[in-house]
Amino acid sequence: MFRYYLGLGLHSLRRNPVLTALMIVLIGAGVASSMITFAALRALTADPLPQKSAQLFGPQIDNWGPANRGTNDEPPQELSYTDAVALLNSHKALRQTAIYETVLSLVPADARRAPFTVKGYAATRDMFAMFEVPFTNGGSWSAEDDAKGGSSVVISWKLSEKLFGGTRSLGRRVSLGGHDYRVVGVMADWNPQPRFYAEGSIHSVTDVGNPPDFFVPFETAINFQLIDSWGENCTNDYKGAGWNDLLHSQCDWISFWVQLPTAADAQRYKAFLDGYAAEQQRIGRFPWAPNNRLRSLMQWLDYLHVVTEETRVAFLLAIGLQLVCLVNTVGLLLAKFMRRRGEIGVRRALGASRGAIHAQFLIEAGMVGAAGGLLGLALTAFGVFGMGSFFEARVARLVHIDMSLLGLTLLTSIVATLIAAVYPTWRAAQVQPAWQLKSN
């Protein structure tokens, strides 16, 4: 019976190609608009480290005081060098890292090759285990490198390929920003998105699709005076100049992450933070009461508004557009079904039940939905591909098409069309055979 109804539906759809095409276009355009914006929303709400995110926390310490707080009483988003070092040395968490982004020029050893810039991070060795960085070769630098500022570097496999071709890069020298480093590890593909771990990087466009090129020890970066590529946030009265002043200032520029496996650990760490701030208050460094935060990774992303308001609004508008399309599809289906009252009358008179009529017309609607879904797939692909031109560039680079999105597009399209067909089908099934069978 199903195949018979498919045949009937196909026949009927061919009979009014204009009506059919109009329905398919409406359904396809409607579903594509909501799918494109859904893909953007999905990309932005993604968990960058699903297996670990619940254990990762970003501590914030208020070293600026009430006078420099915004309207919401939030402490600064980054730490000063003083506080970052204090937290590192306390070792109160299972693992901890201070981290900041830096851009350096790389001069290849081969004098015939042009120098280029690379982007990476200064961090401590705990970072690799905390963020589950995979290695193809070697591993993280030693604890001694962390303590004494050794010139070790971990590079991405892409950079390794670029510099050394296919040859083994472990132990080789790389000249970065005028200093020589020794390669101790080569990372496999690793680029969690959004790039949560360093302030500034989170909202960066170019990071998507471009994994970090290198990691160097935090202590080394401080010794070599590598500047944070996103700059420092200082209070308005900061008058210092130069590296030494910066290290002793209340300027905030270092991101900090700790791994706290249990809720109890997190509570203890928060208490430790408050204790630390209270101690600073006591010695007169902060003349105000502690105002700290300890946000988990997902809370942190939420707090930074990684999902922009524009994306949410765009999604809602797209849903609205799909609704408009759907309401009009109801009208078109109604017109299409009611035009076939004669046919319905004959089928009913020959013994078809109302249920059979329902099945027939719902199958026909399902076919329209599937066709609309196929068009929607094409439009969604086209939209995601060309997204950079009308969406925020960073969002566009995050968004990608996968099987689940394709499946969801088809499913949404068919289900939406079936819902739209409920009323027209009901009307069709109400047709009285007697009325239609009068002589013509």
């Binding site: 020029s105 557009l321 408009v324 109801v330 017109a335 009308f390």
Partner: protein, 410 residues
């Protein structure tokens, strides 16, 4: 005309009528505003820069290492000498940004006197030298060009304003109306700058500038490391040799001095590429809004076709009776056309209010000007025509209903 019976019939279908009226209103409101925004974006994209865009290439150069202002100046000068000697290069100069879609701009307040409390106008400068006019293809309409001894090296910590400047005609007219600007001094910093020349057209570097888009100033300055991020070399190629220049320039610079990095994937880029990137969001917005308009209009047409087809099939019997008692096919056709005209007109009245309200909202949240009145009749006409076209098919089918239908008893 038969308006009263139409209204009476519509009263029987209040829900459906209200829905379609509402949709037409929504469509008109959104389409008017979208068309207006599209038109604004297209206008923005079409603004002439005033330069020879087709033959211009740009290199972003950053030095590796720390150098003094004088060292940087010498390095930039020898770079420029190499670039000018490349076959296919007409001329070249170094700037901190590039025209119209530049990465940097410095907002300057232009004043007649040092102590003038409020600016006369805003302007944005370029760093130029004696080669700038021929590199960009700018036309000097009064005064003289810079000489090489006018040009001084500058750095991020310098904030002295140069004693001589060249300005655009647009800025000259704002400052001195129809009088000559050459020889007069204006203030853009703490010291006066004498206008030595006036050029015809040159758009300011910042893309989003509207009210002073052609108020450019050429400062005789050269910086090798503006804002700690290098500087831009602009080169004008001979006709049809732009690609050669784009390929040759980075290699020539590297062989002169390797300790530098170029920006991004391509070391040198044709200006047209930079311009396309700069205007990508305008183009994207225009495209997206056209798509939304298209979908909304298609949805409205679909709604009208569906609803009127449905009504035609519902009213077969009444149509038959009317035909049997003397109505012509034309009468039936006109009945449905008039009905559609009425519905669309209701929608348009409501839609105009909506368009106006939407425009006010957009004006409040975005810097959108007031919607010009002529968009409303244009939008209305569009919907009337679309409505009539959409109803034509169902109406013709209605007109084809034979009078004999009336005789089928129920």
């Amino acid at each position: 005309m038969q308006i009263r019976p139409i209204l009476a019939a519509l009263k029987q279908h209040r829900g459906a009528t209200a829905l379609i009226v509402l949709q037409i209103a929504l469509t008109l409101g959104i389409v008017c505003n979208a068309l207006f925004i599209i038109q604004q974006r297209l206008e923005h994209m079409a603004r002439p820069t005033g330069i020879d865009e087709a033959n211009l290439a740009v290199v972003h150069n950053q030095w590796i290492g720390n150098f003094t202002k004088a060292q940087l100046n010498a390095m930039v000068l020898s770079d420029l000498a190499v670039l000018r000697q490349l076959p296919g290069v007409v001329d070249a100069y170094a700037d901190y940004t590039y025209p119209a879609v530049g990465p940097w701009a410095q907002l300057s307040s232009v004043r007649y006197t040092r102590d003038q409390p409020k600016k006369t106008t805003y302007a944005e400068p370029y760093y130029a030298d004696e080669h700038t006019l021929s590199t960009l293809g700018l036309k000097l309409i009064a005064g003289r060009n810079f000489r090489s001894d006018d040009i001084s090296a500058t750095s991020d910590s310098d904030n002295a304003t140069p004693p001589v400047i060249i300005i655009t005609q647009d800025l000259a007219e704002r400052l001195y109306h129809d009088q000559s600007a050459v020889g007069r001094a204006i203030y853009i910093g703490d010291t006066p700058s004498t206008i030595i020349g006036v050029i015809k057209h040159l758009q300011v570097p910042a893309i989003g500038t509207h009210s002073f888009a052609y108020c450019s100033i050429l400062l005789p300055l050269r910086s090798g490391n503006f804002n700690n991020s290098g500087s831009y070399y602009l080169m004008r190629a001979k006709p049809n040799q732009l690609d050669d220049v784009v390929h040759a320039a980075p290699a020539a610079l590297l062989s002169l001095n390797r300790m530098r990095v170029f920006d991004g994937e391509a070391a040198a880029q044709p200006y047209s590429v930079l311009r396309a990137i700069g205007y990508a969001s305008d183009r994207g917005m225009a495209f997206l809004l056209s798509m939304i308009c298209g979908v909304l209009l298609a949805a409205t047409v679909g709604g009208i076709v569906g609803l009127s087809s449905f009504w035609v099939s519902q009213r077969q019997k009444q149509i038959g009776i009317r035909r049997a008692i003397g109505a012509t096919r034309g009468d039936i056709l006109r009945y449905f056309q008039t009905e559609n005209l009425l519905i669309v007109s209701f929608g348009i009245v409501l839609g105009m209010l909506l368009a106006f309200a939407l425009n006010l909202t957009l004006m409040k949240f975005y810097e959108l000007p007031r919607l010009p009145m002529y968009y409303l009749p244009i939008g209305a006409l569009l919907l009337w025509i679309l409505g009539q076209l959409a109803v034509l098919g169902p109406a013709l089918r209605a007109a084809a209903v034979p009078p004999v239908v009336a005789t089928r008893s129920v």
